[in-house]
Symmetry: C2
Subunit: 205 residues, 2 copies
DNA sequence: ATGTTGACCGACCATCGAGTCGGTTTAAGC
DNA sequence: GCTTAAACCGACTCGATGGTCGGTCAACAT
């Protein structure tokens, strides 16, 4: 049984280190040797576990990235009764730098999406699927929010979800190259203005 | 004098074709031979005009990308007296597919920024500078809009500019892989909601 | 006309990185 | 103990690609 343990251990190390370095330097800018050197592993070991660099990355997506997106962006959507508050809270948290295992700005889906866009359609589609999950969940809580009277009735929930996603993705682009603190604050501030504009007005009799 | 003409002609062809192919396939995913074959030019010709691939791309940035950003995003900011309307119009136009010389979704600054981020700091900084110019101009017209009574006084213009840029950049990520028509409409719709929330309310006496 | 130089050619070089493969070590089954 | 095969090693192949260099040709100056 120790054999099985060894395998899991090695694959886990490969996954974790791969995600870290790929995210830090970009997939195409990282050679397998870069990662292997860091782990003191050989080419042979690598190709024993994965059939290619691409297969390896897909494995990372399915084992780590999916989890992170769920944990950071999907599950928190249901912790607050008001969906707009839940969304603000989840984004605020997701934009927090240096969360879980020192990965700056926690969530790297967008970086990879842009890197693979037009270069590797298979990986792109995996990443798009993850984004889609987020979108679907956003739309769902927004619609509930409409029913519960938190969001104005004439609002297009799909449009709102799109807009939230767009601004969040773009924000991450800006964050990766600037003073994050202030940008994050500005972003959340404006997001609240926006949310204010789609909130159901209280008819103060 | 014909010699000079020939040179300008060749460099212009290299610039235009380079931008087109780099944008379509990505800088790192495009080899010089890809471009040279398309133009029936030789390696020798290329290195006669440019000292490296990187130098070549910087030249493209300075000659073409800067122009496009100005034309699409900066100059249109002053055509409408109300800055919020001017911004909506400019973004609507910039997101129009297939404008000027068949370049889908006109504006590619963001694609390049993400590609070079963490890989080539020199090129990144050139691209960031261009974005900065846009930002500065946005802030400027927003502040004028505040003076002219189009925007509520308590609004943070820098924050608004950041938010606009973020949502626009993110939008382009989404557009590059989906049904653009509907997304664009949704985006502009929500942008208007947002703008509505930062507009100076008329005190209807 | 003649020498010079700019524009261009294309074979060649050097490097890098993904993937291969025969070999070695060691846990597990009998 | 002995065999088997999983886990791993690392030298090697091989294609891709950025960049070099000696040479050709035609425009321009004198």
């Amino acid at each position: 049984m120790e054999r099985n343990l060894k395998k899991r251990e090695t694959m886990h190390r490969l996954h974790a280190m791969g995600l870290e370095i790929f995210h830090a330097k970009g997939y195409y800018n990282t050679s397998l040797d870069d990662i292997l050197k860091e782990l003191s592993l050989s080419k042979g070991a690598f190709y024993h576990h994965f059939k290619s660099k691409e297969d390896y990355f897909i494995s990372i997506i399915q084992n780590l990235i999916v989890q992170k997106v769920y944990a950071l962006l999907v599950e928190p959507l249901n912790v607050n009764e008001n969906p707009l508050h839940a969304i603000v809270d989840s984004l605020e948290n997701a934009l927090e730098p240096g969360k879980s295992n020192e990965m700056a700005y926690g969530f790297m889906l967008h970086d990879f999406m842009t890197e693979f866009n037009k270069r590797n359609t298979e990986i792109s589609s995996y990443l798009k699927d993850i984004l889609k999950v987020w979108e679907v969940n956003l739309v769902s809580v927004l619609k509930n929010g409409k029913i519960d009277g938190h969001i104005a009735r004439h609002i297009d929930c799909e449009g709102v979800a799109t807009y939230i996603i767009a601004s969040y993705l773009g924000m991450r682009s800006l964050l990766s190259e600037n003073n994050g603190r202030q940008l994050k604050y500005q972003y959340l501030q404006q997001l609240k203005h926006y949310f204010n504009s789609i909130t159901e007005r209280q008819v103060v009799a």
